[in-house]
Structures are given as structure tokens and as C-alpha cells.
């Protein structure tokens, strides 16, 4: 091999080409065809799949649900993750142990996280409703998983529980790399802890928060497993996400062309978001802060 650099990378390129890049191209091609899985019938339908999907009320509610799920989860994960980082950024053995322990939910399979919270939210036998019953809410009155708004709360809670540690890990690393002098100087000048946080620590953390927020947004947008295991997309499609909608088009209705169109729409959404994050990240932090 004349170019060892390329030779060394070839196995990775081959895998990516076969399992990711080529299927991406194929899914784009497929999105212009009607292709039924069981009959195997394939015919060119131009933009019909996209038109059919966009006119489908279920798809529109999947878009709404996904946006709500993503924005609420990421906001809460950022608040909780930053709070965790600030709280645990302290010396001592106790804090070191806590720092290692709080990443546990992130390490779990999302299936496990989903099943755990499904159990906790159970209306008749769940511990959550039992605790609420001590506060005077009769057992079984809050049907978490079969009431649309409450089901969304349950799904978002699971997502935040599992993924806030991700934000915490990144923000904590950012916090550790900050110099201590500006905070010390401000403290000497009589600034309050809140002022120090707001005007000195927080602005320096913006890049780390931005990275964590971008990753979480892209990952929450595609999340399948958590809504699937907690609610299965129900009740009455109230927690149906784009990923579940795609899955149903494919393996419930066997409309592969439509599923491909949804897949391509999700890819575009992700690409637009990723490009926006990269553009934002490449600007100086001051301008990012003033927005």
C-alpha cells in the first residue's frame, strides 16, 4: 500500500460504507418508491410518500411529541446536570465517591431504565402513587401511563433520569478546567456566591453546556427505546415519537417507502440541528452568551 494512512483506515471505511453510507443513499432512493414488505411490490411514486406522511395527522402529532419531548428533556437535563456538577465540585473523599456513583443511570440499558420507571409509575401498585396517597391523592387516581399528559411526564422523567449524568460529566470536566483566580478575586471584592456564579463561572461554562446540550438534543430527537418501553407510544399516540412512527410504518403497516421517507426527514432534521450547533460553537463564546 503506497499510503499506509489510507490502508490503516480501510477496514473502518469499508464497514461505514456498507452499514451506514450506502444504506443512507438507499433509503433516499427508497423514499421515492412504494414498497410493500409482504407483497414485495415496488413502484416509483415520486414524492407521494413525503406527501402522504406530511398529511398524516399521526405524523404531525409525532413531530409535536418529539419536539416537546426533546425540548423539555434537554432543558431539564441541562438544569439538573449543571446543578449536579456545581454541587459535586468540592474536595474530599465523600464527594469523590458521590461523583462516581451518580453516573449509574447513564450506564444502564435504556430498556432497564424504561422498565424501572414503568414500574414506579404504575397506577395501582407503583410506589409513586403510594407516596402520593400518603399526601391525600387516592391510590390509582393518577393513571400516569394511560393519561396523555401524564404519560408524557413519565417518559420525560425517565429520559432525564437516565441522561442528566451525561450533561453532568461534560459540565463537570469544564468546571474542573476553569482557573480559580477570577472567582477568588471576585470573592475578595465582596461578590456574593450567586454573583460569582452568574457573572464569572457560568459564562466560562457556556462552551461545555453547549456541547452537552447539542449532543443531548440530537440523541433525544431519535430516542426510540425509552418511549417504547415506558408507554409504547400511547395512550392514543400521546407519546408517539418520530422513531416509533417510523417503526410502525415499517413493521406494522409494512410500508417501507413511507418508513424510508420518515427516516430521511429525521436525518435532515438532525443534520440541520447539527449544522446549527457547529455554526454556533465556532463563534466566540461572548456572542453566544449575548443571544
Amino acid at each position: 500500500m503506497r499510503e499506509p494512512g489510507i490502508g490503516f483506515s480501510l477496514p473502518v471505511y469499508a464497514l461505514l460504507a456498507g452499514v451506514l453510507v450506502w444504506p443512507m443513499a438507499y433509503v433516499f432512493y427508497l423514499s421515492f418508491y412504494s414498497f410493500h414488505l409482504l407483497t414485495g411490490q415496488m413502484s416509483f411514486v415520486a414524492l407521494h410518500n413525503y406527501a402522504a406522511v406530511v398529511k398524516d395527522a399521526t405524523f404531525l402529532s409525532a413531530i409535536r411529541n418529539t419536539c416537546l419531548y426533546t425540548s423539555a428533556s434537554v432543558t431539564l437535563e441541562l438544569l439538573l446536570g449543571v446543578g449536579m456538577a456545581l454541587l459535586l465540585h468540592r474536595p474530599g473523599r465523600f464527594m469523590a465517591i458521590v461523583r462516581g456513583a451518580v453516573i449509574a443511570p447513564w450506564a444502564l440499558s435504556p430498556v432497564v431504565a424504561g422498565l424501572v420507571w414503568r414500574m414506579l409509575f404504575h397506577s395501582n401498585y407503583g410506589i409513586l402513587n403510594y407516596l402520593l396517597s400518603l399526601l391525600g391523592v387516592p391510590m390509582g387516581q393518577l393513571q400516569w401511563l394511560s393519561t396523555p399528559g401524564l404519560a408524557m411526564v413519565a417518559v420525560i422523567t425517565t429520559e432525564v433520569w437516565q441522561n442528566a449524568p451525561f450533561v453532568y460529566v461534560i459540565v463537570y470536566a469544564g468546571l474542573q478546567s476553569l482557573p480559580a483566580e477570577p472567582e477568588e478575586a471576585a470573592a475578595v471584592d465582596g461578590a456574593s456566591p450567586w454573583q460569582i456564579f452568574r457573572f464569572i463561572t457560568l459564562p466560562q461554562l457556556v462552551p461545555a453546556i453547549g456541547v452537552a446540550g447539542s449532543f443531548r438534543t440530537i440523541l433525544a430527537l431519535r430516542e426510540f427505546t425509552i418511549p417504547w418501553t415506558v408507554t409504547g407510544g400511547g395512550p392514543a399516540n400521546a407519546t408517539l415519537m418520530l422513531s416509533i412512527y417510523l417503526y410502525r410504518q415499517m413493521l406494522q403497516f409494512f410500508e417501507l417507502g413511507r418508513a424510508a421517507a420518515v427516516g430521511w426527514i429525521m436525518l435532515l432534521l438532525t443534520a440541520v440541528l447539527a449544522a446549527a450547533f457547529v455554526a454556533r460553537a465556532s463563534r466566540p463564546p461572548e456572542s453566544a452568551l449575548t443571544q
Binding site: 489510507i6 430498556v111 417510523l246
Partner: protein
Amino acid sequence: MKRDAANRSRAITWRVVSGAAVLLIWTFFPIAWVILTSLKGDRLQFSIPPVLLFPPTLVHYARLLHDADFSRFYLNSLAIAVFSTSAVLAVAIPAAYAHARLRFPGRTASLALLIGIRTMPPVTVVVPLFIYFRRLGLMDTYLGMVLLYTAFFAPFGVLMLKTFFDGVPQEVDDAAAIDGASPIRRLLLHLTPIGPGVAAVAVLSFISSWNEFLFAFVFTAREAKTIPVALAMFVGETGIDWGTMTAGATVVMVPSVVLAWLVQRHLVRGLTAGALK
């Protein structure tokens, strides 16, 4: 005095301790509840108010142990995770070395591509891969699953290992190059210093494969079915069997939590290198 002022914001006060306590409850209550439920006998599962003190029983674990299907799925998970982790290392180590140390045309573009490819939603490729897995006979096979996982985790492996190669002094390479060592020999020289990086990538790949649900759910049925898929089936199909479900959840979560705890120092690099999940 200056020190005192700065330390004030990082002191461990009773408010900090109570904050940490709330955080630990939020983090561990659900996990502890699962383990507790898995140790309760069938009659206590649904008692309200919940029983906290009870004679623990391993009956649900015994049931899983004797369930041939469950053992099979557990073995599948283990085998697929081990194979795909080995494959990730095999393809990612040379590629990471190339991206860190060898100049080749398109290297910058290649790095950008590896980062960009990580943002693609896996659910998008499910449709075309489904068609081709059926045609190629890869449905419900170890080979199919290992191919998928290796392709999905390799870019992260390359990006993360590159940061470890970057940390090795350039002189190591230069001296070997002057002695006429081939690129492969030079790569082998680096394996000792980047050992911790290799271990971290291995552990994170293993966890990702062990925990993965979507692909396993779509592309396996029985022969290569993994534990997360089996767990998800506990819901709905058999009514609610919390004893078996929580025992199953416990045996799935223990390896991932222990492994993640072992590599926690390297998590930041792993997360930002390609955001695993």
C-alpha cells in the same frame, strides 16, 4: 484570607450534604427498588403499602437460571458484545493511529466524516438494512449484529483512541521512523502507552453493545436475540410479572454499572469523542 473567600463557595456545608443526599436518592432509589422487588416473593410484589422488610428470596433468579431461553439470550448478549468489542478494537486502533500520526490525503475530511457520521439516527438505516439483511441471510445472526455494532461504535473508537495517540510524544514515532521501522511496527510501539485508552474504548463498546435495544429488537428473533429485547418482552405479553422482570433487569444492569464505574475517568473523552448512545 483570599483562600478563605474562595473556599467559601466550595465548602461542604449542611446544605451541600443534603443536596447530595437528595441527588443520591433520585439516582439510586429506582435502582434499589428494582433490586428489592427482585428479592420479594410473588405474594409481596403488589402489596400496598409496600413491604420493606421481608425474608429475601432468590426464587426469581432461580427461575431465570432454569429458563433455557433466558440463559440463551444472556449468552447471545455476551457473545455479541465480546465479538463486536474485539472487532471495534481491531479496526479502530490502526485507523486512530493513522488519523493521529500518518499524513495521508483527505485526513481532515475523513475526521470530519467520522464525527458527522455519529450524528446519523440509527433508526434511519433500519429500513434499508432490514431489506438487505433478509436478502443476505443476516437476519437473526451473530454476524449481522456484530457487523452493525462494529460499524456503529468504530467511529467513536477511532475518535477516542486518536486523542490517546495524540498524547504520546511525537519523538517515539520519529526515532522509530529514523531507524527505518515500518508504520505497523511504529503502531505496535504505541500500544503500551495507549493501553488505558484501549481499555476504555473496549469497556465503552462492550457496554453499548450489551445495552443496545433498537437493532437487536428489529434484527433478531430468537437465535441471536439479546437480553434487552427479552426484557422488553416481559412487559405486556405475560401481563406483569415484576419478580422475573426485576430479576432480569438486575442481571442486565450489574455488568454495565460496574464497567462504567471502572472507566469513569475516561468518560468525558468517550462522550465528547462521539457520544456513544
